[in-house]
Symmetry: C2
Subunit: 186 residues, 2 copies
Amino acid sequence: MSKQNHRNKILAAGLAVFHEHGFNGSGVQDVVSFAGVPKGSFYNHFKSKEALGLEVLDAYWEAGTEGRDVLRASGVPPLKRIDRHLTLFGYDKNGCLVGNFSAELAGIDEIRYRLAELYETWIDEVAICIREGQLDGTIRDDDKAANLAEFVVEGIEGAKLKAKIDQDPGAVNRYRKSIRLFLQSR
Amino acid sequence: MSKQNHRNKILAAGLAVFHEHGFNGSGVQDVVSFAGVPKGSFYNHFKSKEALGLEVLDAYWEAGTEGRDVLRASGVPPLKRIDRHLTLFGYDKNGCLVGNFSAELAGIDEIRYRLAELYETWIDEVAICIREGQLDGTIRDDDKAANLAEFVVEGIEGAKLKAKIDQDPGAVNRYRKSIRLFLQSR
């Protein structure tokens, strides 16, 4: 196996293991076992478990690109785009890695700063879509798009936590319906 | 020190340590060091770290009784009661223990079942208040009180996660304003 292959396997294993068992709930040994590479290989590629955590977060974010792209789908009404976005970021039995890391790793500054950047980017992307809906009259305009967007993003994190506890997608589906009620102009 | 004293000290230490560093981010040694009791004492009182985790969750919930009682404050308009409730469950630099445990410990069935019960009770308490507001015309009635209440509870969890990442109460304060916009009749 090439070195790059080992690195990729460790990264993919880190994503799977940290998402299912939590960052502090799993060790480097769990990651290399899952990856099927020798433990010594880990430190050739990552300077620490925290360094892998940061790359895992970026890989998770990257994997969500398509789910954020729907927010800019031209020809689709803004409320519909938001609903599609939330559907694509819907139920996962392990919850959302961004939410999980927020709960677990806010004490590690490097990870906290990265999470803050991801939230900011995410909220901005939702806000641009909401702003379009405010301009075409389909979305309420009694608050700034940025505030409404923050509420949408925080809500999906909360709903995904709840769905994880229920081990059932119901909470996420009900949340999508509530967000539509919240956002639509009356 | 009496045995009961040791037990209480371990429970209080568990709450402080698990809340700040996470359940998997801290060990029994951290808890007994914080409590100032010998490690041997731990297993005289708790059969496992998970057993302590469950009692810590109950103690945290118990400590929030006053913050939930405001939901039933007679003579106070329902929207105002919800705002007070969310203010009392507001910013904490360590986030909400219910949310943190949801993110971290859903894989431990005993803790997951307890979390599910707590969410259900919490949502019911908010729903009763919302129902009152629907009956007096101050809260929207285009969805069931139970659904609106679930949205409120999930949202505060999401907002507390975000505030923990920001290390700033702003997200929680903006969330309270958004919930008022969401709930009020128009």
